[in-house]
């Protein structure tokens, strides 16, 4: 007679998110920090003088931190191995979102810390403070990293890394077209919206500046943080649904 599994026996349970996080850390720790932060420090020296470039570099760092292990798994086709282990697809998705949030936090800290470290080298004649010094800049960073993961991760979980990246690029272009197409709406003269083509982050920063002007700091903080969390939550649900259907 084959016995039914005892749910209290750890052998009969799938791996927890904590176990999966431990696995990700073991893979990442081998070379990841050296590679990513080495690249970041070097690139920061080149970009710190250009606000948008320095901002985008650190958004990219968030992406690099979050996707370091998935890229390795994709490149080495380790996903079959991963899913032959006692893990649930749902736990894998949650783990990747937890890592994405952590990566966003680490990249944000790296952004402000590197900016502060390199402050003495900045042009003393700058008329406006760097993005990482301002609340609207920091909130823009949160929204941009949130958008990056909320858009990319479901496509990655549905289509895999290669096709997912292509889908992400196509979706980003559509979002940018919408952003640029509506940049003049509801914006008074003299703001970022009057620029013919602000940087993509400039579009979001412009809206956050409007929120700050209209709702104050507390209202804007609440709106941005809750909005980003909601967006990531919806994205997580979509990823779980799509990843549940994937075959390896």
């Amino acid at each position: 007679m084959v016995s039914r599994p005892d749910p209290l026996n750890p052998r009969n349970r799938g791996a927890s998110v904590a176990q999966l996080l431990r696995k990700e850390w073991m893979v990442f720790w081998f070379r990841g920090p050296l590679f990513l932060f080495g690249v970041d420090v070097f690139a920061s020296l080149q970009t710190v003088f250009v606000d948008e470039a320095f901002f985008l570099l650190n958004v990219a760092l968030a992406g690099g931190l979050a996707l370091y292990v998935p890229v390795i798994e994709w490149y080495q086709e380790s996903d079959k191995m991963l899913h032959s282990l006692p893990v649930s697809r749902s736990a894998v998705v949650i783990t990747r979102y937890v890592i994405a949030v952590m990566a966003g936090g680490i990249a944000g800290l790296a952004w402000t810390a590197t900016g502060r470290l390199l402050l003495p080298f900045l042009d003393a004649q700058r008329a406006t403070p760097a993005m990482w010094m301002t609340l609207d800049g920091i909130l823009t960073f949160i929204v941009c990293t949130g958008l990056l993961f909320a858009l990319f991760l479901p496509l990655y979980f549905r289509l895999g890394m290669g096709k997912g990246a292509l889908g992400f690029m196509a979706s980003s272009l559509i979002l940018l077209a919408i952003g640029y197409g509506t940049r003049g709406l509801g914006v008074g003269s003299g703001g970022h919206g009057t620029l013919p083509f602000p940087a993509p982050s400039g579009l979001i920063r412009m809206r956050i500046s409007e929120l700050l002007a209209g709702m104050g700091v507390a209202g804007t903080l609440t709106t941005v943080l809750l909005g980003t969390a909601l967006l990531l939550g919806l994205s997580l649900r979509l990823s779980q649904r799509w990843y549940g259907r994937r075959e390896f």
């Binding site: 016995s3 052998r11 009969n12 176990q19 696995k23 079959k80 899913h83 893990v87």
Partner: protein, 297 residues
């Protein structure tokens, strides 16, 4: 006793491929060989047992559990060795073993290290620098280190040297000795199955040809050799496949008694068929199962 693995009416369609209503079961304490030509559906079937691929219809139960709905609990008690083991290749083998250990509460470090030493796997080296055979040895060490109850092996012996293959077969025979563990072993090297398999499941073009004990295969199938002149349509209908050469034909029959009776008095030789013969000759049903030398399968 409930079988350790039960496949019921499983069906899976891909573009240009259909696995059709496959059903078989594997009792505890036995080794089953899964044979068939490339593209027969062997790997797809193994993936469905692991819930890496979902069947369009049918059901797979492992340890009495649904392989899809209770996949994690199933996989905790299954060891899988893939044809081309691909792990985190940039990591040293020992680090990858540490990753496995995270997921298996029953992982035995000493067993793993002992096996690695016995199998000659250099644990300090990066996996990607090891040969395919050595990576397979590593995967086998991992499979044997966590007290799995069902071993799913997908062409594990193809990259292994003959001496280690024999060791592997002895090891698998040892694994099932307690009567609680089973092995499902997909391979093209059918001589391996002649040595260890208790059951044989034969897939061809997505269709289950049979699930029989090894003895039943030996009893049911035979090679018939004779002069092509006797190959009438009626005689051809007796065969699962025929190869006609310049000087004679070789055919596979799946009904030895009927064939002997039908060909009584004819100058034919009836020989034992190996599993390789069964895979090679079974197939083309068109033109009475005719297959000519030089014609690809």
């Amino acid at each position: 006793m409930e079988p350790i693995l039960e496949v019921r009416g499983v069906r899976k369609a891909y573009q240009g491929f259909l696995l059709k209503d496959v059903s078989f079961s594997l009792p505890r304490g036995y080794i089953m060989g899964l044979i068939g030509p490339n593209g027969a559906g062997k790997t797809t079937l193994l993936k469905m047992i692991l819930d890496l691929v979902r069947p369009d219809a049918g059901e797979i139960r492992v340890f009495g559990m649904d392989a899809n709905r209770e996949g994690e609990a199933v996989r905790a008690r299954v060891a899988f060795v893939h044809e081309e083991p691909s792990f985190y290749g940039a990591l040293p083998a020992e680090r990858v073993a540490d990753i496995f250990r995270v997921f298996y509460p029953t992982w035995d470090v000493e067993t793993f290290r002992g096996l690695a030493k016995e199998f000659g796997v250099p644990l300090g080296k990066k996996l990607k620098t090891l040969s395919q055979g050595m990576r397979t040895r590593f995967a086998l060490c991992a499979a044997l280190a966590h007290e799995a109850e069902l071993f799913l092996l997908d062409e594990p012996s193809s990259g292994l040297d003959p001496a280690f293959r024999r060791d592997l077969l002895d090891r698998l025979s040892g694994v099932i000795e307690g009567g609680q563990t089973s092995v499902l072993f997909s391979t093209h090297i059918t001589s391996d199955l002649d040595r260890v398999a208790d059951y044989i499941t034969f897939l061809r073009d997505g269709c289950l040809q049979f699930t029989l004990t090894r003895e039943e295969v030996s009893e049911r199938y035979a090679l018939v050799k004779g002069d092509p002149g006797i190959l009438t349509e009626e005689v051809r209908a007796l065969f699962a496949g025929v190869v006609v050469g310049e000087f004679g034909f070789v055919a596979l029959t799946d009904d030895v008694r009927a064939t002997r009776e039908a060909l009584e008095g004819e100058s034919v030789v009836v020989d034992r068929a190996t599993l390789e013969d069964v895979v090679f000759y079974t197939g083309r049903k068109g033109k009475g199962g005719m297959r000519f030398r030089g014609e690809s399968a």
